[in-house]
Subunit: 473 residues, 3 copies
């Protein structure tokens, strides 16, 4: 972690025209979390003291998103209006934030649309900057094919200038060290240079890159910090960039999980958010899509084609086959699926079996209970050793009164197939509900409740219905 | 678009032995449409006046497929029997089609198993051909590794000859310009040369390629048109080629969608036919397979693992999670799935909720209606503000009489869980059906219909059933 | 097949620390079968006479797995404890197996964590070894980038030595021929050299590689056999290696299937075990995961997102859409899915239709029978021409007595929607069960059985329930 105090500026004012979106660019989600919040998370990992987000396009939406974001450090915003380039953006901080005027520490310059930089890379940048007593440090990468990037021209460890592709000489075009657009700078020394930037260029914008030349000119010490993996500075300007960022982050996550002892059978069809934690000796089968605050235990079997979202907690030795799980907790040795849905605050204990075509919503289920086929359990509480027959419905919703009610099924109770439990209702301990019953009154322990017609048979009805008057067989 | 009149010939007589198929090669589907029809579609985009398809192997099947194909231009067929090579194929057109004998325009030579050529590429070929007043123009590509392809030997812009791999000198093997097998030719001048082709080669076939040398020899002007993306001339000779064509076309489609403002979260597991249209700010989640005449609105969320086929129309702000949709229309702000199926002429209005394990078939559903769990709605009409309880079935099929009947559920009606509506039957406005009822007679508005047994309880039945004579707890 | 008698040794004593697993490395499954058993299968294809598996880490688990493995040849084990390297491993065979002492044939040295070697490669190795009368033959591969591998230094066809990366001279580093660690050796001549191996190296282990130098020194004939595809010697040391082996084997399988006439629409999202057989003109749609002893007929349509496991046999012209099938047999022209599950010994005849949200378990279904929606058929027997209404449940499980019973539904019987058949029970030929009935007694042929309440209507109940005292409309 850095020695000197530092703050961060995040450029987040751009529109992202090529995204063709109603959403501001920095709010586009990467594994469910806006790009800008991915950058702010990384800063949190760095233990930044303060960040200033420069907003512009869609600033109401961005401000709202920031208000909902929880950080351990101070976040303030500065409006850039109109948006006249990155140098102009940073100038707003200098001109508009009184409390930054006397700041003598370092400032990290990041972009809200460059979401893949790691804590390690930025820590190295800060350490390099502070350790070598640079006034300005440029994060650079080495590209086999640097075409199109600004080349960083150096002499030993000292930066001379950055040359854009179109202005580069033949010799300069051979340089493979490129400017990532991420900087660390001594605010007191470098920020005054922002006032000298000119917009005398094709786009008529003030470029932050030009500060490098001004710093060199002013005799300041300008150095480099090297980035190992150029993918870290992928920026999002189009939906294809967003897809690429997802792919890079996905690969990073799958590699982490595999290193931690998880078998990922088919990485090519597996898509897992960086937040997901999975215990050793668990297996992720093909086609899984896990995104959210998800924790999975050891020796679990997840998939194929399982989707999880929200806050999900899964214990050891659980199987979740071809199912959808959202905001639920599942105990050890429980089996779910295929084709099941658990959602919205389900709490399931250990050794439970939730089979195919079963939906469980806002329901608690105690251990050793089964709901193996075709059931809806909503707003219910099930004890241990309960058996829910196929086709059982907890009728939790009263559409006439538009309210939801709870169903209680006590330990050891057995509910027959195609039963309806009309909430509010309870089935007592060890009670039994006969198949096909509609239960509207509480059932006492050990009793059998039955609510259905008696079976009668109409002789030869089918023959008559078909108009068959005489049949020999 | 081209200046001079042009026609097209499509070679479609081959067997495709390596496909090991009962289906003729050119009828193998690429995103659900036969290869040949993909080529015919491209010609339609070029505003061709007429196309001649040369058929041979499996010609009954190909003729039948052509009869079902709707084009804005004339399509005729010529039979090549036996199949003695591409030059022999084209010769059939010259020899058998009387109305082509005096044709003084240009002819585009295409293959029915080369499905990825774009309208733009062929338009450029035609324009180059006509603009430079060539007699014969060869569509060529540049290959980093041209091994195995016929090299096009040129002097300036003039073609000298095409040399096959096995006949090429060391110098010629370095040539990276290769023959794609697609040509544009002045029919009146070039087609007579077909008569001079020889089958004096290893395969004993008449090669169209040899016409190039004949044309040069005869003093005709032979030129080139360059193809940017060699993937456009991928031909299908094996199932692996078919897989590759799918991959290329899929990537093309995903890139188009992303350019139009659609987020594709995981292109690697997403498979979308070129016909599909999706509005900006919609998101396609992993594992989707969309193939057919499909239109999806803005701000939709599709997937994961959603399959669509047939004619599907989806309005804005719709969610279709992990579901199957075929030949259906879905209104705005409607949610479907996970694990739902809509099929065969479903029409759903806005703000409808179709939940898990619900099948809807040939049914109209008006706005603000819910069928949230475990239901079958077939041959039905549902009004607005209807609630369908979990486990509800419209019994549309009478297996004794083998006919299907309709169910009408009027505005505001509420159908209780595990009910059966035995069609033909109607539930009136604001009527209510009690849970577990089998409704065989129409229900009047505002009435409650109930058809079930009364709940009775048998004391201690479970203890007796289990043989427990005395229980202390 | 080889001329001289040969045996094989398989090194399987390693822990695989980087896998972070409770399971011994060689028992990690590759498409459901342990790595070691994949190697043993390959040996079976070679018609080996005998194999000796050297076990160490987790030897109880490995021994147990070997006991369950069925081979046509003798398998014995030797314990290596402690594990002091590959040379030390082989030495155990020499020292501990009395019946190998006088063995005068050849021995193939394989690793239990290198699962992708083909029968063809090993047959070539043996033939090369025996045909050239080598005493020791090294299987080598050519690598574009050989960094990190042991280089095989040769003079003509004779091996001089193997040099490890760290010991290689600049000239040796240019050598692209690398040691795969797979050998064939004349046991009588080469195995005595194992006694001379030294552990005087950084790891303190006895390396089998060092035997090569000893053999050359001793004047034995040491030669090479070339491996075409270096992927065959991928070893599993980490979960990423396991993922790579799955990817290579998957690609190999998909290419085989395509060569055999199967259309694989989207290889990138398709995952099929090498055991799977599929007939020509069948199509595998995106997202399928097929693993097990699976045979699929011609002209089938499988997927999207279909999962199969266990022993599955599918006839011609079958469709299995978005479903899960385990240990089942399915007849011709039968359609399954989407969203169906067949499991545990289902036998379905031809022209059957199993629709969405239907589970079939341990059940036989005769031809032309339908269960199109929302049903559970367990422990049942269905005749031909049966119709199972939506929502039908066979209540096979008696939770009070904890036993399962059977349901018989005879030819031509029609079961109405939302019925429950409480097993043991039978429905006679051509009998009909009314919708919503709970059937507890056998139904006679041609009879209609009905067990439900009569429909009654309560006038204006909804108005009163809602407290609407006066309504004008």
């Amino acid at each position: 972690m850095p020695q000197r105090e530092f703050k961060a500026v995040i450029l987040a004012a751009g529109k992202g025209t090529r995204l063709k979106s109603e959403l501001p660019k920095v709010l586009h989600p990467l594994f469910g979390k806006p790009l800008l919040m991915r950058v702010l998370d990384t800063l949190g990992g760095l233990q930044a003291a303060e960040a200033c987000v420069i907003i512009g396009h869609g600033r109401e939406q961005v401000t709202q998103a920031l208000a909902a974001y929880e950080a351990d450090y101070t976040i303030q915003t500065v409006v850039q209006e109109p948006q006249l380039g990155t140098g102009h953006a940073l100038l707003q901080v200098r001109q508009k934030l009184a409390d930054w005027q006397n700041f003598t520490g370092d400032v990290l310059i990041l972009s809200g649309d460059v979401p893949l930089l790691t804590v390690e890379t930025l820590a190295t940048l800060l350490e390099t900057h502070q350790g070598t007593q640079n006034d300005l440090t440029v994060l650079v990468a080495t590209m086999d094919n640097p075409f199109g990037y600004g080349r960083v021209i150096t002499e030993g460890h000292t930066v001379l200038r950055v040359v854009e592709q179109k202005d580069a000489s033949e010799a300069e075009k051979q340089v493979q060290t490129i400017n990532t657009g991420v900087y660390c700078l001594n605010w007191a020394k470098i920020s005054p240079l922002l006032e000298q930037l000119s917009s005398d260029n094709a786009q008529g914008e003030f470029y932050l890159t030009d500060v490098i030349a001004l710093a060199v000119q002013a005799g300041y010490r300008v150095g480099l910090s090297h980035l190992d993996d150029p993918d870290e500075v992928l920026g999002v300007n189009a939906r294809t960039d967003l897809a690429q960022c997802h792919a890079v982050l996905n690969e990073r996550t799958l590699n982490r999980l595999m290193a931690e002892g998880v078998t990922v059978l088919h990485p090519a069809s597996t898509f897992i958010a960086p937040e997901v934690r999975i215990g050793a000796d668990s297996t992720v089968l093909p086609g899984c899509y896990l995104q959210g605050d998800i924790t999975i235990g050891k020796r679990c079997m997840i998939g194929p084609h399982t989707t999880m979202s929200g806050v999900v907690e899964i214990a050891d030795d659980v199987k979740i086959l071809q199912s959808v799980v959202r905001d639920s907790r599942i105990g050890a040795f429980t089996n779910v699926g295929p084709f099941a849905q658990l959602r919205d605050g389900v709490e399931i204990s250990h050794h439970v079996n939730i089979g195919n075509f079963v939906e469980v919503k806002k329901t608690r289920i105690d251990h050793h209970t089964n709901a193996a086929h075709l059931a809806y359990l909503g707003d219910a509480e099930l004890g241990t050793d309960v058996n829910i027959g196929a086709g059982t419905i907890t009728a939790n919703y009263d559409p006439v009164r538009d309210i939801k009610e709870r169903t209680i099924i006590a330990d050891g109770a057995k509910v027959g197939s195609n039963s309806v439990l009309v909430a509010p209702v309870s089935v007592g301990e060890n009670a039994s509900v006969a198949a096909g019953s509609v239960i509207t009154k509480d059932v006492k322990p050990w009793n059998l409740a039955i609510a259905r017609g008696r079976q009668v048979e109409i002789n030869g009805w089918v023959k008559r219905a078909k108009g068959i008057t005489e049949v020999t067989s």
